[in-house]
Amino acid sequence: MLEEVFRDEWGRVLATLVGYLGDFDKAEDATQEAFAIAAQRWPESGIPNNPGAWLTTTARNQAIDRLRRERNLAEKIRRLPVPDPIVDEFDDTVIKDERLELIFTCCHPALPMDGQVALTLRALGGLETAEIARAFLVSEQTMKRRLTRAKAKIKATGIPFAVPDAHRLPERIDAVLAVIYLIFNEGYSGRVDLGGEAIRLGRVLAAVMPDEPEVHGLLALMMIHHARQRARFSGEDLVLLDNQDRSLWDMDQIVAGRAVLDRAIALGARGAYVIQAAIASLQAAEPIDWPQVADMYRRLAELTGSAVVELNRAAALAQAGDAGAALELVERLDLDAYLYFHSTRGELLRRLGRNDEARAAYRRALELATSTPEQRFLTRRLEEL
């Protein structure tokens, strides 16, 4: 319970403190101290009515105390301006939400990508350094260095704590969404629940950028995908959509994801995230409207120019009953090094009764398969022919 409150409030409190102090490290120290005090007091006194405001005020006072102590030490050298402490204002409405500024600082393209990811999870997501290290399979020491380097670069290069100018905003939002999506995809392989963390971050983004269509598009995409998480694996084996046990799907989250998708569409989202979310939503329906899925992949392919997307469109066309058109599309693609190109081609040829060619395609796919589940699956297919 306490942990939940902490996780929810961390980013908000830290953001306010960074805005107040203009220094990441000092803000983190003060926030940490405030949370430590809360951890000590709240179990006895109960959680205050407005925990966020309590924590922010306490953190601010901690920071001021610290500045005072430092000033006393340094008094003979120079005088630092020390703000007055705020004692009693536990009113949330007066505390500005500066998480948006914090997001743009953490996801600044001048930082290395791994630094952006780590900093976003730490500063905004409130994850401990050790947890982030575990999620990315590196030592805590390495992760600590990564965070320190990122914060040092923010300071040294003057990365601002600010929302970018309007003309830069679209590209900077893209950069933020890329970081969140990367976190989500790391979670796809199922270590620490990074998928859940990415969704939590996506919710923060949606709260602070309520009118940005692609923000909602990405959140919807992540929610609907993540809702199928438990059905995606059977032991070590990957379970394809067709064979997933739908009773394992989190239907509430799918419904919630669809509401977010509706909001994205209502805002006029046309980007890659919202189309992918629409595909995920269609694929969560029963029965699946494959012609429409194929049409969505067509739009996505137009947007991205990706041959892999075209391959997915072909698969959807085949599911819609038109294996001939699907094969025609596949034959135009230049994806010889891609396993799923050959397995899809094999499947289409099989459906069209061209078994010899299908076998050759499956064999080629088998050559490219690296994981045991994939190899098992393809061998089974070959035997069936």
Binding site: A110, T157, G158, I159, P160, P164, D165
Partner: protein, 112 residues
């Protein structure tokens, strides 16, 4: 904060430009020089004019050519005063070399 904008481009990067493009580039370079935030800006002679110096004990080693043998070479630099990195990026993005296959490296200057 003070930033150095180091302008890198391939030698002759502007050879293929039309007159209109060349004129636009010249205007942008002079706009940079005239910007009140610009402390100083200089164009460098080509790398053929470069000389490298090293000192080994008491001997001075002088060699011909630039320090690093790269495709893009340092062609000019500007020292600017900007509030933060984003402002420096805005100024760097207006430097013609940046849009003509070159690159502008931004380095904060150590303040003493």
């Amino acid at each position: 904060m003070q930033y150095a904008l180091l302008i890198y481009a391939e030698p002759g990067y502007d050879d293929g430009l039309t007159d209109a493009q060349r004129e636009a580039a010249a205007l942008d370079y002079s706009a940079l020089g005239d910007d009140p935030r610009c402390v100083s800006s200089s164009q460098l002679h080509p790398v053929e004019a470069a000389t490298c110096v090293r000192v080994d004990g008491t001997r001075t080693l002088v060699t011909d050519g630039p320090f690093a043998d790269t495709k893009e070479v340092l062609g000019g630099l500007a020292l600017i005063e900007a509030d933060n990195l984003d402002e420096a990026i805005e100024m760097a993005a207006r430097i013609p070399a940046a849009r003509l296959d070159g690159v502008v490296e931004i380095r904060p200057v150590v303040q003493r």
